[in-house]
Symmetry: C2
Subunit: 363 residues, 2 copies
């Protein structure tokens, strides 16, 4: 059956190590380490864990000289390109570029001296290092001049952010620097959507999407998927970070899941489809689905396995799965690509599904 | 600061007990019990638990006569309107209407006899009971006629679903029945978005949104928030169900969180904003945020509390929170509505934040 497809916005291609952002390249997933970067060993361990989870790019905070000093080893040993997150001190950006970072994230709002920003631009240009220019809702309202502050507060937040980004970009455009990635983040999901739509209209640089301070995984997943998902559906966004407070690993799983669910990236491994359990369910659907998911966690082959608790949605929806199991009356019926295969007692269902799934992918 | 707002689609109002769907009424959250409905006591216990979690409407499966027999007691004691989910047997719908269900969910695709559907419509009309007419991706492809099946498979899935819905609606329109809610669900997020956009263009009945077989809470939250969130941002949707395999309680939390995050419903209680922890963080931000969240779980007053690990985003973003705490150098600074209040040692931070939050809301 023909399914709708996302028409992606045309953006220019920017290279970040061996990963391309924009220009039709797949949307990439990034995350950020929570280790102290100066501890190269701990940081590399986390970078490797994030890579195993499927991350494409990893960002590190480099607030001190000790952090940038550790960067050369981290960059050398990291399996994915490393991005240095710089605030306040342009020196850190220069050191990170010298250490081989593939991209610098800069918020020009907290580096007041334009000459310093210009030095970073020149160094990045020479080293072919990309720069993400970011604007956050926290950095757009004038803090010192009361009159300007009042004027700012009267404006729509998204317009204020676009205006501030344009002001930041002027320095880069004056220098003829084009390897830019833009971002505009807010805690407010609708502001994220709105400001990125406006940016996508105005510039053709690749866009980095994310919601700031989304919260913990439980609530943050909803806010982030709503905002980032809405933009991706509209074709906007070239790299994403789902950000949670705490351990960064669940961020990667969430980012990948978002891309899978919008068919922006082919799923790796088994996809478990489980019916929403209701009073009709003949077995413990969630437990069965979870048991199958765990038993097939080692598969890299894309395969859809549906676990259905009854005959209402079961057979119809099973037609779209590679393998399906529908419970009913003490037994389950296995379907392969919509065709009934055999029935087995319900207590052997998990084993039977796992066996058939492995047969289908040939291992 | 001015924030973007969702412009909701104009839909006609349909009453479901004391809850209105459409016509500008707030988007409502529904869920579905996983108990056997015939067990009225267990079902009522779950309905009450869902109500405590904030659900507006609860749906029950009624596959047998024993289930509809339990409905009268359940409807009588439930704190929220009850919806009966009917498949295959029109008798169940008639019994559910007689038992006082506020709404019937019907998939006319599995009740072939139009006269039976017509009897349900007449009974619902007399009792002022609303009917949700649903179409699922599993029910749109012709199963018996091979030639028609081939023709169906060549069409876009979303168009096929709209066509099938129009065919279902004909029976209702012929009967002059207007208390309708429409739904079109798919496992595929983009199909959900696309089919609902088309339905919203064509009819003005309120829409029920959801993704079928979204999976367990961990992955299902992403898929559901992306699809349902995209539609809500576009103003489409009058009632939502986030559906997970297993326990329905997390569905309600997820549905509410989605409405809160899009400002479609004012948040009840404290909202914790936590920075995405990175190498700059001076304390365990996630643990601190979680401790504060738990200590304030009893508050009903809306209050935003931000927990920030460093000075980069902290003070700026703190300006938008009612109460904020920014860590730095062994101590934390408390801010009330953007103004610094006092600093306390980091190990007293949680206690201090909780005290100040209770002061702000007056208890």
């Amino acid at each position: 059956m023909q399914l709708p497809q996302i028409q992606r916005r045309k953006s220019r291609a920017v290279r970040v190590g061996n990963v391309t952002l924009g220009g039709g390249a797949p949307v990439s997933v990034q995350s950020m380490t929570s280790t102290v970067t100066a501890d190269a060993q701990a940081t590399l361990a986390q970078v490797r864990a994030l890579t195993s989870a499927g991350v494409d790019l990893v960002r590190l905070a480099v607030p001190t000289r000790a952090d940038t000093a550790a960067l050369e080893r981290i960059v050398g040993e990291s399996p994915v390109p490393i991005i240095a997150d710089v605030h306040f001190q342009a020196e850190r950006a220069l050191e990170a570029i010298a250490a081989g970072a593939a991209k610098i994230r800069l918020n020009p709002g907290n580096i007041q001296d334009r000459d310093q920003v210009r030095r970073v631009i020149d160094a990045a240009g020479e080293a072919h290092v990309a720069i993400r220019v970011g604007v956050n809702e926290g950095s757009v309202v004038e803090r010192r001049d009361t009159a300007r502050r009042q004027a700012d507060l009267a404006k729509p937040l998204d317009d204020l952010m676009v205006e501030k980004l344009a002001e930041y970009l002027q320095t880069f455009q004056d220098a003829g620097f084009e390897d830019l990635v833009l971002s505009a983040k807010s805690h407010d999901a609708l502001t994220c959507v709105s400001v990125n739509r406006k940016i996508a209209q105005r510039w053709d640089y690749p866009l980095h999407l994310g919601v700031t301070h989304a919260g913990t995984a439980q609530t943050g997943s909803i806010r982030s998927a709503a905002a980032v998902g809405t933009l991706l559906v509209e074709g906007i966004g070239d790299t994403i970070r789902i950000s949670y407070a705490g351990d960064p690993l669940p961020e990667v799983a969430a980012g990948l899941e978002l891309l899978y669910s919008l068919r922006l990236r082919p799923r790796v491994g088994a996809e478990l489809v489980a019916c929403p359990t209701c009073g009709r369910a003949m077995g413990d659907v969630a437990a069965m689905a979870e048991a199958v998911r765990c038993a097939l966690a080692d598969l890299a082959e894309p395969i859809t396995v549906a676990v259905m608790g009854c005959v209402v949605n079961g057979p119809g929806e099973a037609a779209n799965a590679d393998l399906a199991v529908c419970a009913g009356d003490g037994k389950v019926v296995l379907y392969v690509r919509g065709k009934p295969l055999r029935s087995v007692p319900i207590d052997q269902a998990v084993q039977a599904v796992v066996e058939e799934a492995r047969k289908l992918v040939g291992r």
